[in-house]
């Protein structure tokens, strides 16, 4: 199941240490922006008296990875959805497809690439938590094994039922994600997408794409069959015309 993050909106004070740590870790230029951009991979937004973190959710079956024509976006077994800028040709289908609207583009550069949180995949490989989780002094963002995080979230919801909406955001959204959130305010009011299908969107296109080999075989035979019949009909017509001609002569 890999590693993940649990964000608890009731604990976040909005200090922005996570965003700054992210900038430093990933060497992103410029100040932290209010919305996600190619240069701000995580940001904290005030909503409904709470503070909510925006970042890549690291889906279990990532839509971005399924749509990328050159497999520049890949889900690693550790949990992160990583991006290989050397492969990317810049079609921006990941941006179109992402149900959470996370990948952003360098619109200001002549040679642009996509920017999004990669869950500090190199730190995770070294056994370290993500930079944002390490920077959080209030344990609003905690890093850990996904199953442990689900356990922790369920415990908090059970122990303080009045203080939380009884839902772990990310457990089923778009087929489940490695980053999860709990909150005292309904998630749509925090600006998170809530009308997402429980089935990964990637399944919808795969149902079509997986049929292509069969389709090519059947369609090819059918088209050749049509040609064979019409060509044969023409041959027969020619031959008959010839025969009739002979009969008339004899």
């Amino acid at each position: 199941m890999g590693m993940g993050l649990l964000f608890d909106a009731t604990r976040c004070v909005g200090c922005g240490a996570c965003s700054s740590a992210c900038k430093e870790q990933n060497k992103l230029p410029g100040p932290v922006e209010e919305v996600l951009t190619a240069y701000t991979w995580t940001t904290v937004q005030p909503r409904e008296g709470l503070n909510v973190r925006r970042m890549c959710m690291h889906c279990e079956v990532p839509t971005c990875a399924s749509v990328c024509p050159v497999a520049a976006l890949v889900k690693t077994p550790d949990g992160p959805v990583v991006y290989d800028a050397q492969r990317c040709m810049g079609c921006r289908y990941c941006m179109m497809a992402c149900p959470f609207e996370i990948p952003k583009y360098q619109w200001d550069r002549p040679v642009p690439i996509v920017g999004k949180c990669i869950l500090c995949s190199s730190r995770i490989k070294e056994g370290k938590p993500t930079a944002c989780a390490e920077a959080c002094a209030y344990e609003a963002t905690v890093f850990g094994k996904k199953e442990d995080l689900i356990w922790e979230a369920r415990t908090r919801l059970r122990q303080k039922p009045g203080e939380y909406v009884n839902h772990i955001y990310g457990l089923t959204e778009a087929g489940g994600t490695s980053v999860m959130a709990i909150s005292s305010v309904p998630f749509d009011k925090l600006g998170l997408k809530t009308k997402l299908p429980g089935e990964p969107p990637a399944m919808r296109t795969w149902q079509v794409l997986s049929n292509i080999p069969d389709f090519v075989a059947v369609w090819g035979v059918l088209l050749y069959g049509v040609h064979w019949i019409t060509a044969r009909r023409e041959d027969v017509a020619h031959a008959e015309a010839k025969d009739n001609g002979r009969e008339n002569q004899s």
Partner: protein, 388 residues
């Protein structure tokens, strides 16, 4: 008159439309320079909220869709053996090839790093619709080039290779029809991944089939339109005996497509959003009336189909409605979910218009200098090689 004299004498007498095309082409080059020095943000109104604009919605979706006449007519002539349509196959293949070239040039501007366009050949992701699209563009452009090659080869006297290609025409046409079927439908499949973003008036699990069938209808409309345009430009007669039955095919394709659309809207319970008459509802009504209801209703009457003016009007509405549909799927239907409005910038429009103008200029050049329409090159005097 020799070949060189024909070309040379023409080069120094550009017509009004050639000059317009030339100016647009220069504007296009200017935008290209800005694009590759200042970035996509400097020339387009695209943003993180709205990453695909008219270069995808018009140039790609319509460029490919309106090239559908090529596979439709090659199938009719070479597979269904309806040889009487042969005289209009060549202009259709040329349109297809130019349409696909148009798409590739537009992609070179729209892609962030177009010099990596070949990456799809070595880095595979068969789960990606865009991967399928990339392969279809590459392969079908090649097929169209080979299908058109005999015209160029014969012109310069290379008859042996032209005969060789002619012998391969059946497998070539079958390959072309298969690739087109995959490609036309895959452009619809592209939008299957955004069920939570595309407006219910346009989203449907049947998008791939809808895109395929509507492309056949509009592709036939394009065949009629280009026959009409070249009639006007080169004072040819309109092949009404061929175009009238084609229009019948267009009615069938658009009719099936229209019913599929209505069924999809009913399944999405989206008829209400038409009655609300909001932004999406109005755009849908315009698209559907222009692209389906009017052409199907008018072209169902033999008397109207057989009248050149009505026929051209019907085909024009079908093509216009088709373009509106692709823009609605890619732009109108995506705006509400994106939380922003997108209007193409002047420079985006210049690129699209400049490419269309360049395509039309190349078409006109080809018609003058090669045997595109029956009877050899138009306006080039007596053909030196009547057998070509």
């Amino acid at each position: 008159m020799t070949d060189t004299a024909t070309l040379a004498s023409r080069r120094f007498r550009p017509g009004f439309w050639t000059i317009v095309a030339g100016i647009l082409f220069l504007a296009f080059l200017t935008v290209t320079v800005i694009r590759f020095t200042k970035g996509l943000g400097a020339v387009t109104n695209l943003s993180d909220k709205f990453p695909w604009g008219i270069w995808i919605g018009f140039d790609l979706l319509c460029g490919v869709g309106l090239a559908a006449g090529a596979f439709t007519l090659t199938a009719v002539v070479h597979l269904f053996n309806l040889k009487k349509f042969e005289p209009i196959v060549r202009p259709t293949i040329l349109t297809g090839f130019l349409g696909y070239s148009f798409v590739i040039v537009a992609l070179l501007l729209d892609l962030g790093q177009p010099w990596r366009i070949w990456h799809a050949i070595i880095y595979w992701n068969p789960h990606s619709v865009m991967f399928e699209v990339a392969w279809c563009v590459m392969l079908y452009t090649t097929v169209l080039a080979v299908e058109f090659a005999p015209v160029v080869l014969e012109r310069f006297g290379f008859n042996a290779p032209a005969r060789f290609i002619h012998r391969l025409i059946t497998p070539l046409v079958i390959l072309g029809v298969m690739l087109s079927t995959l490609h036309q439908s895959s452009l619809g499949t592209l939008y299957l991944i955004v069920p939570s973003k595309l407006h219910p008036l346009w989203y449907s699990p049947m998008l791939p089939v809808q895109f395929y069938i509507s492309a056949i209808g509009a592709g036939i409309g394009m065949v009629v339109l280009e026959s009409y345009l070249s009639k006007r430009a080169f004072h040819r007669h309109l092949e009404m005996d061929l175009l009238e039955p084609l229009a019948r095919g267009m009615v069938v394709a658009l009719g099936i497509y229209g019913l599929m659309r209505l069924q999809a809207i009913q399944r999405n319970h989206a008829f209400g959003s038409i009655l609300e008459f909001g932004y999406e509802g109005r755009m849908f009504l315009l698209e559907f009336t222009l692209g389906v209801i009017l052409p199907v209703a008018l072209m169902s009457f033999r008397r109207l189909r057989s009248d050149p003016n009505w026929l051209v009007a019907g085909a024009f509405m079908a093509v216009l409605g088709f373009v509106m549909n692709r823009l609605n799927v890619s732009i109108t239907g995506m705006e509400a979910a994106s939380g922003t409005r997108y209007m193409p910038s002047a420079m985006e429009i210049i690129v699209s218009v400049g490419l269309v103008a360049t395509g039309m200029a190349v078409f006109a050049f080809a018609v003058r200098n090669f045997s595109i329409f029956p009877g050899g090159p138009i306006g080039a005097g007596p053909d030196p090689k009547p057998g070509a």
